[in-house]
C-alpha cells in the first residue's frame, strides 16, 4: 500500500514534464513562471497565517480545551485521542489556514509520524473548507436559498473524518 503513496508524485511529475516536452512548449520557462506565482501566493497568505497562528495558539495554550473535555467526559467517556484533533475537525470546514495552524501545532508537539500526526494529515487532505466555499460560490451568483448544499457538504466531511480515523488505524 505504501508504495502506491510513494509513486504518485514521481509519476505525475514525469507525465507533466514529458507531456510538456512532447507539446514543444518551453518547460523550463513555464516552470519558472509558475514557481514565481507560487512565491507570490505564499507571501500573500502570510498575513492570514500570522493571524490564525496567533489566535489558535492563545486558544490552545490557555488549555480551555481540557476544561471543555472534562465537562463532556461523563457524556462521551474517555477519548484516547489527543484533544487538538477536535478543534481541527471543527475549524476545517471554515478556515483552511486555521486547521493548518493546528496541524502545525500537532506536528510540533507529537511529530508527523505519531497517530494523531497522521490522522491530522489525512484529515487536512480529505476534506475542504466547505462552509467558506459555499458562502463564496453562492454569494457570487446572489443565491440565498441553498437547499441541502450546506448539510450535504458537511455530511460528506463527516464521512471523510470517520474514514480518516478508520484508515489511520488500519494503515499504520
Amino acid at each position: 500500500m505504501e508504495i502506491i503513496s510513494k509513486i504518485i508524485l514521481p509519476i505525475l511529475v514525469v507525465i507533466i514534464v514529458f507531456y510538456g516536452v512532447k507539446k514543444k512548449i518551453n518547460v523550463y520557462d513555464a516552470f519558472l513562471e509558475g514557481a514565481k506565482e507560487g512565491l507570490v501566493t505564499t507571501f500573500n497568505i502570510f498575513p492570514a497565517v500570522i493571524a490564525m497562528i496567533f489566535a489558535i495558539n492563545i486558544f490552545l495554550d490557555s488549555n480551555v480545551l481540557g476544561f471543555v473535555v472534562n465537562l463532556l467526559n461523563p457524556l462521551i467517556g474517555n477519548i484516547s485521542l489527543p484533544l487538538e484533533i477536535i478543534p481541527m475537525a471543527v475549524l476545517r470546514p471554515i478556515s483552511g489556514t486555521a486547521s493548518l495552524a493546528i496541524m502545525n501545532d500537532i506536528f510540533m508537539n507529537f511529530g508527523p509520524d505519531s497517530f494523531v500526526g497522521r490522522l491530522a494529515s489525512i484529515l487536512q487532505g480529505c476534506t475542504d473548507t466547505t462552509i467558506y466555499v459555499i458562502a463564496l460560490y453562492f454569494g457570487t451568483v446572489k443565491i440565498t436559498k441553498i437547499k441541502h448544499a450546506l448539510w450535504g457538504g458537511l455530511f460528506a466531511d463527516l464521512v471523510g473524518i470517520i474514514t480518516a480515523i478508520i484508515l489511520t488505524n488500519l494503515f499504520f
Partner: protein, 195 residues
C-alpha cells in the same frame, strides 16, 4: 464568519487563562507566536513554489484541459439537468481537475465561472438549482491527489515517510465524495417525486 471565530478563539483563550491564573503563559505565547507563523510559511514555501512550477507546465501544455476532458463522461451522469454542450460542464471539470492536483488558485476562478453559467439556466434566481447543489457537494468534498502543504509540513517536521498519507487521504476523500453524492442523489429523487 471567520472574523467572529478569530475573535472567539482569542477572547476565550485570554479570559480563561485570566480566570485560571495562567496569564503568563499567554503573554509568552503572544510574544513568540509570530515567529512560529514565519517558520510555518518558510516550511511551506519551497514545496509550494516547486509544485506550482510543475503544475504551470501542465497548464501551459494543455495537459490540465486534457485531464478535465477525461472527466466529462462522469459529469454527464452527475448533472443530467445540464445540457451536454453547456459551458458550465467544461468549467466544472476544470475546477475539479485543478482541485485534484492541488492547484487551488486555478480551481476557484473556474468554479465561479461554472456557477455563473449554471445561474443562467436556473429558473429561480434566488434558489439553488439541483446542478448547483451537486457541484458544491462534489467541490467541497475536496478531492486532492497531491496535498502540497501537508507534504511540506511533514517534510519540515522530519517525517520518516512524508508521502505515506497520500493514499489514505485519497481513499478518505473518495468515500466522502461518494457519500455526499449518494445523499444528494436520493434527495433529488425525493424532490422530483413531490413535484
Amino acid at each position: 464568519m471567520v472574523g467572529y471565530i478569530w475573535a472567539f478563539l482569542i477572547g476565550v483563550g485570554i479570559i480563561y487563562s485570566l480566570i485560571t491564573g495562567n496569564i503568563n503563559i499567554i503573554n509568552e505565547s503572544i510574544l513568540t507566536n509570530a515567529n512560529e507563523a514565519l517558520d510555518l510559511i518558510l516550511n511551506l514555501l519551497p514545496i509550494i513554489v516547486l509544485w506550482t512550477g510543475i503544475l504551470k507546465i501542465a497548464e501551459v501544455s494543455g495537459l490540465l484541459d486534457k485531464f478535465a476532458k477525461l472527466l466529462s463522461p462522469l459529469l454527464y451522469k452527475l448533472f443530467p439537468d445540464v445540457p451536454k454542450d453547456n459551458k458550465a460542464l467544461g468549467y466544472i471539470s476544470s475546477n475539479i481537475a485543478a482541485n485534484m492536483l492541488g492547484l487551488g488558485s486555478a480551481a476557484t476562478p473556474a468554479g465561479l465561472k461554472a456557477m455563473n453559467e449554471l445561474q443562467k439556466i436556473n429558473p429561480k434566481k434566488d434558489t439553488a438549482s439541483s446542478p448547483m447543489v451537486t457541484f458544491l457537494i462534489l467541490n467541497t468534498a475536496g478531492v486532492t491527489l497531491i496535498p502540497t502543504t501537508i507534504l511540506a509540513l511533514r517534510v519540515a517536521y522530519k517525517s520518516a515517510s512524508p508521502s505515506e498519507i497520500i493514499l489514505p487521504a485519497i481513499i478518505a476523500t473518495a468515500c466522502s465524495s461518494i457519500a455526499g453524492l449518494t445523499l444528494d442523489y436520493f434527495i433529488r429523487k425525493k424532490q422530483k417525486r413531490w413535484k
